[in-house]
């Protein structure tokens, strides 16, 4: 039997995921991290991107977050996801990039790219850019 670690993902609006997992991948600020059970305690900020929870060899759940905080304890992983995007958290270049990439993927219907995933990415990128615009108009 493989080792598991308890994972909680919450956003400001609701609880997104709670359960046991074999491994978790998260977009930490200094690069993507993979966390196995009994990882050393870690605190990190998260970049906007994908959090992937591997529940078993065959099953894994992807989540999109627009930034947040990751806490790792040996038997407990907590991800606090931001959904309310705030000016400081937005990386405009990354959002632009994501938007372009997602649009490209949507055009490319060859089937290599998962349509749903690309669509979600596009929405997220557009949302971020829009928020940034709004914030800038407000004079931040």
């Amino acid at each position: 039997m493989t080792m598991t670690v308890h994972v909680d993902i919450v956003s400001a609006e609701k609880e997104i995921f709670s359960g046991l997992a074999e491994m978790i991948f998260a977009p930490a600020e200094l690069g993507e991290v993979g966390i196995s059970p009994r990882h050393a305690p870690l605190l990190s900020r998260l970049n906007p991107g994908e959090v992937r929870v591997k529940v078993s060899e065959k099953e894994s759940y992807p989540f999109f977050i627009s930034g947040g905080i990751l806490e790792v304890q040996p038997h407990l992983v907590t991800i606090l996801a931001d959904t309310a995007i705030r000016a400081k958290d937005i990386d405009e270049a990354a959002a632009m990039d994501a938007k372009a990439k997602a649009e490209e993927a949507l055009l490319d219907k060859s089937g290599a790219v998962d349509y749903e995933t690309a669509h979600a990415q596009l929405i997220q990128a557009i949302m971020q850019l829009r928020t940034l615009d709004r914030l800038r108009k407000r004079g931040e």
């Binding site: 308890h6 909680d8 919450v10 956003s11 400001a12 609006e13 609701k14 609880e15 930490a28 600020e29 200094l30 050393a40 305690p41 870690l42 605190l43 990190s44 900020r45 905080i69 806490e71 304890q73 040996p74 038997h75 407990l76 907590t78 606090l80 309310a84 705030r86």
Partner: protein, 289 residues
Amino acid sequence: MAVGKEIRTKIGSIKNTQKITRAMEMVAASKMRKTKDRMQATRPYAKKIGQIIKHLAHANPEYKHPFLVQREVKRVGLIVISSDRGLCGGLNSNLFRKTLLQLMQWDNENVDVDVCTIGVKALGFFSNLKKINLTGQVGKIGDTPHLEDIVGIIKIMLDGYEQNKIDELYVVSNEFVNTMTQRPTVEKLLPVVAGEIENGVSSGHWDYIYEPDAKEMLDHLLTRYIESIVYQGLVENNACEQAARMVAMKSASDNAGNLIKELQLVYNKARQAAITQEISEIVAGAAAV
């Protein structure tokens, strides 16, 4: 018939009042459902971040963040969360009574107080008080509070704490127990105190690996923590307000109903007395002829 004209108008006006209170009761009931949902939706986040902070207080970091360090208390900061509007029973007055008791206690210990208020009612109350220093206020937030609404006053308090102007930070708000009960509570936010921790967490001497670095990370995390607690308090206070208003308006409608019943009785008696008197006068007149 001229009898009981005043009573009739009085009944009419009470009926109008009753219509208003009943409408307010129904509005409050539907708003309460929404605010309660919102309160429950934001709870997991507040709970989780609270847990992380608790773990953090148990760690032995190489960098001691000022928010985690106890120091001698000369001045405290207080954030009071109240409602914007009245007509919600004793909700705000209970909260202010609790706050006053706490203020008196600090006064006895020669501790000064800086107050930030959220909500119009708290501003009205605290601007009349002497001895306290009002450093910030925000009001008219409405039924859907946003984090941006309260970021300003939190910044005032956190800056005050970092510059050693205040040595402790408290928040006073109503706790939603159930629809009938709301309890005013005083909660200490800073410095963060270590509480009980659950299983699955490192024990003994340990520290986190911080990314990018400890100071930046902890600044970010602790600010988020304070924001989320105050926000949660605000959302919860909103639910309390609607629940209290619903209950207050229900009892007002009931009281109006009782009043109408009594007045109707008085009116009927007066009318009957007038009729009886008229008949006896006619009978007496007929007998005299």
